[in-house]
């Protein structure tokens, strides 16, 4: 989570507020015109104005605005990363895994009863040569 004691140099905080303000303004326009979602566009636009106000009047409200936006976007960032990881898991693991399961994949020798019937679980170890040491795989 964002640490509220985080206090980078004033100049950096102002710059971050300006960048945030511009990005949010562009996002608000995009959402308003392209996605035709005026309410969301207004909310994003308001955040953009808030960031800009923080940039202009940093001595008066800048630090509070900075903290508020950082906490807000910290939460948003976590949410988005959670969604991305979930999507990655779904696309890279769940779907291929289920398909492979349909084809009877069993790389891990998971079937205990089948393993019991084997004489040994040993297999030949892969050989190494001087070139293989240069690879990470």
């Amino acid at each position: 989570m964002f640490d509220v004691n985080y206090n980078p140099p004033r100049k950096l905080q102002r710059r971050q507020l300006l960048v945030l303000s511009v990005c949010l303004a562009v996002a608000a326009c995009g959402i308003g015109y392209l996605a035709a979602a005026p309410i969301v566009a207004c909310i994003v636009g308001a955040l953009s104005l808030m960031a800009f106000a923080g940039f202009i009047a940093f001595n008066l409200v800048g630090r509070d605005v900075y903290l508020l936006l950082m906490v807000l976007f910290g939460i948003l960032g976590r949410l988005i990363s959670w969604v991305i990881v979930l999507l990655m898991f779904f696309c890279a693991v769940t779907i291929p895994g289920l398909i492979l399961r349909l084809f009877g994949m069993n790389q891990l020798d998971k079937d205990f009863q089948a393993c019991r019937k084997k004489q040994s679980l040993f297999r030949d170890a892969p050989a190494s040569d001087s070139e293989s040491f240069r690879r990470q795989s």
Binding site: L86, V93, Q107, L108, C115, K118, A125, S130, F133
Partner: protein, 605 residues
């Protein structure tokens, strides 16, 4: 110009670094000793800096860096495992992926970032090959069979191989998830101890119980083959896809749920520990037999986390499967750094190996040194009273203080590499004192009272006390005490569990476990001159050829590294006397002129 190779193990557990100069291991250390985080898995920056400074070079003089694992192969195994559990592995995926993206898939870049000026080659050794190399290339054998057993490497969990001269080949392996190491860790969790940290507690607890659950475990939970390979019934385990090692089914099978940390240990837990230890020992013995029959070689080298199981090691020796055996003292992941570096020297660079009859670990004294040049100003800055002894007076003084019943914190010379304190970062005591086990456990180390201590024993007396004909300088062998040193066998047999702690079982009760077993460190002049002189002086004073030697730390802390750590450990515990190089600090009220304690019944060596 000499060739320098650094070895690195990191990002799993117990990271470490080492450095070779022209193939000779000159320095090695675990990161935890510097960072003071037990089992620290981060990049071993401090350890590496120490190694470079010991060698007197900077990163630009390094010819090669060897990493102890093949990260992409391990990543492949991880993905493969997730694919096998497409619906239930999300939690593990969520936790592990950021670590892989940030660290484990960026090893070359991380190495470059952490070694300024380095522009040599980076090589990657397979995890079990690193372990095997750490054992064989440092062994005193020209050729030997090799057994590696740990949790898991890239895919291999158990490997058998052979080493000859400067070549090493792994021949057979058992692959993930069928792992003896993971089984032991899973049972460690079931018994309420910390996975990857407290496995040795299970080993220490086992002698209090009876192996009542061996049949149940070997019929339902794992299938042990005659050649030592095994398969796990994954219905009882969560480690392939979850964040825990086991699931609730194991508790249902055994009749009790998983023990919570800190919950009381009952006879049931001791019986489970005994059963797990029994299965482990039997598996290791079978693996050793298989290694002998596959390779036909008469000497054995072992490494991997499970090779730290001294009970199993002792049984393998007693079974007489091999003529001689050598176990890498840093058998866990830390030792992988040494193995990777040696593999780079012998197998990538093709350099020959010279067998000298001594192992190549320099008695494991490979870490930073404590010396009076730094200790004296430090103690003066603290304003504490201390005296400086002449080096030649140190052994006799320390031996006398031990014989007076004092507990000594001994921090002298170079720090040990690996999990054992071997007389340079040790707490020393009198093994004849029946109260010392409880006293040191409770008041010095703040740990469970059931935990046994090990003796440092003069090598020339080992055969008198044990059926041991080979040296055990790294405290990696547990042996039964010979009957003539035992006492109260009847009483000991009649008592239950922890009651046995109070039975005076032998002439050296502080180091005799409840089953009359002893974890032995043999001490010879060639391995450690000063420490040998201390034990010899104690023997001369008392007739007892051993002293208590336990690691200089408190529970949950890494072993002390330097004089700062040692002083604070001394200050916070009931250690009576602290030796820092040759400076001596004494706690108030400790009488250095007390008489030497007499235990007339001691069998004189």
């Amino acid at each position: 110009m000499p060739v320098y190779i650094a070895g690195i193990s990191a990002f799993y557990h117990d990271s470490a670094a080492c450095i070779l100069r022209d193939g000779e291991l000159i320095a090695a250390a675990q990161e935890e000793r510097f960072s003071r985080i037990k089992g620290d898995a981060r990049f071993p920056g401090h350890a590496l800096r120490y190694c470079l400074s010991h060698a007197g070079i900077d990163g630009s003089r390094l010819d090669m860096v060897a990493y102890y694992d093949k990260p992409i192969m391990t990543f492949g195994r991880l993905l493969q495992t997730y694919l096998e559990y497409p619906l239930t592995s999300y939690r593990s995926f969520k936790v592990s992926m950021p670590k892989w993206v940030k660290e484990k898939l960026r090893i070359p870049r991380i190495i470059d970032e952490n070694i300024p000026g380095f522009d040599g080659e980076i090589v990657f050794c397979r995890h079990h090959e690193s372990h095997a190399a750490s054992a064989f290339f440092t062994s005193p054998f020209e050729e030997a069979a090799i057994v590696v057993v740990d949790g898991v490497g890239e895919w291999a969990c158990t490997s058998i191989g052979a080493g000859r001269g400067n070549s090493l080949e792994l021949l057979k392996e058992v692959r993930f998830p069928h792992s003896l190491g993971l089984f032991y860790s899973a049972m460690t969790q079931y018994l309420g101890f910390k996975v990857n940290f407290d496995e040795y507690k299970v080993m220490g607890l086992a002698p209090y119980g009876k192996p009542k659950y061996v049949d149940l475990l070997t019929s339902e939970v794992l299938d042990l083959k005659s050649d030592g390979s095994l398969s796990l019934n994954l219905e009882y385990f969560d480690f392939p896809q979850g964040l825990k090692m086991i699931n609730g089914r194991l508790g249902e099978l055994l009749g009790q749920p998983e023990r919570e940390q800190g919950q009381e240990l009952t006879q049931f837990h001791m019986d489970v520990a005994a059963s797990v230890q029994s299965i482990t020992t039997e598996t290791m013995v079978r693996l050793a037999r298989t290694a002998r029959s596959i390779t036909g070689l008469s000497k054995l080298c072992m490494a991997g986390g499970v090779a730290l199981n001294c009970v199993a090691n002792g049984i393998i020796y007693l079974e007489g499967i091999f003529d001689n055996m050598y176990i890498q003292p840093a058998s866990g992941d830390a030792g992988g750094a040494v193995g990777a570096a040696l593999q780079a020297w012998h197998q990538v660079m093709g350099k020959p190996r010279h067998v000298t009859g001594r192992d190549g670990m320099s008695s494991a004294y490979l870490g930073p040194s404590v010396n009076n040049r730094e200790v004296i100003p430090y103690l003066e800055s603290l304003g504490v009273e201390f005296q400086i002894l002449a080096v030649e007076d140190l052994p006799e003084s320390v031996a006398r203080w031990i014989a007076q019943g004092h507990i000594i914190g001994f921090c002298h010379g170079r720090m040990e590499f690996g999990p054992r304190a071997l007389g340079h970062r040790s707490i020393l005591g009198d093994p004849r004192d029946p109260d010392n086990q409880t006293r040191i456990n409770r008041k010095v180390k703040f740990r469970e009272s059931f935990r046994p201590f090990a003796p440092a024993l003069l090598e020339e007396y080992a055969a008198d006390l044990f059926d041991l004909r080979i040296p055990s300088p790294y405290m990696l062998m547990v042996m039964p005490l010979k009957p003539e040193w035992r006492k109260a066998e009847q009483e000991n047999a009649e008592k239950l569990a922890m009651e046995r702690l109070h039975v005076v079982r032998s002439h050296v009760p502080a180091v005799t476990h409840v089953d009359y077993s002893v974890r032995i460190q043999t001490v010879s002049k060639s391995h450690n001159d000063v420490f040998h002189a201390i034990v010899s002086a104690f023997h001369k004073l008392t007739g007892c050829p051993m002293i208590v030697n336990t690691s200089f730390n408190v529970s949950e802390e890494p072993i002390v590294c330097d004089h700062h750590d040692a002083y604070w450990c001394f200050a916070m515990t009931d250690i009576d006397i602290l030796v820092l190089d040759t400076c001596v600090l004494v706690k108030p009220g400790v009488d250095l002129n007390a008489p030497v304690r007499e235990y007339p019944e001691i069998v004189s060596g």
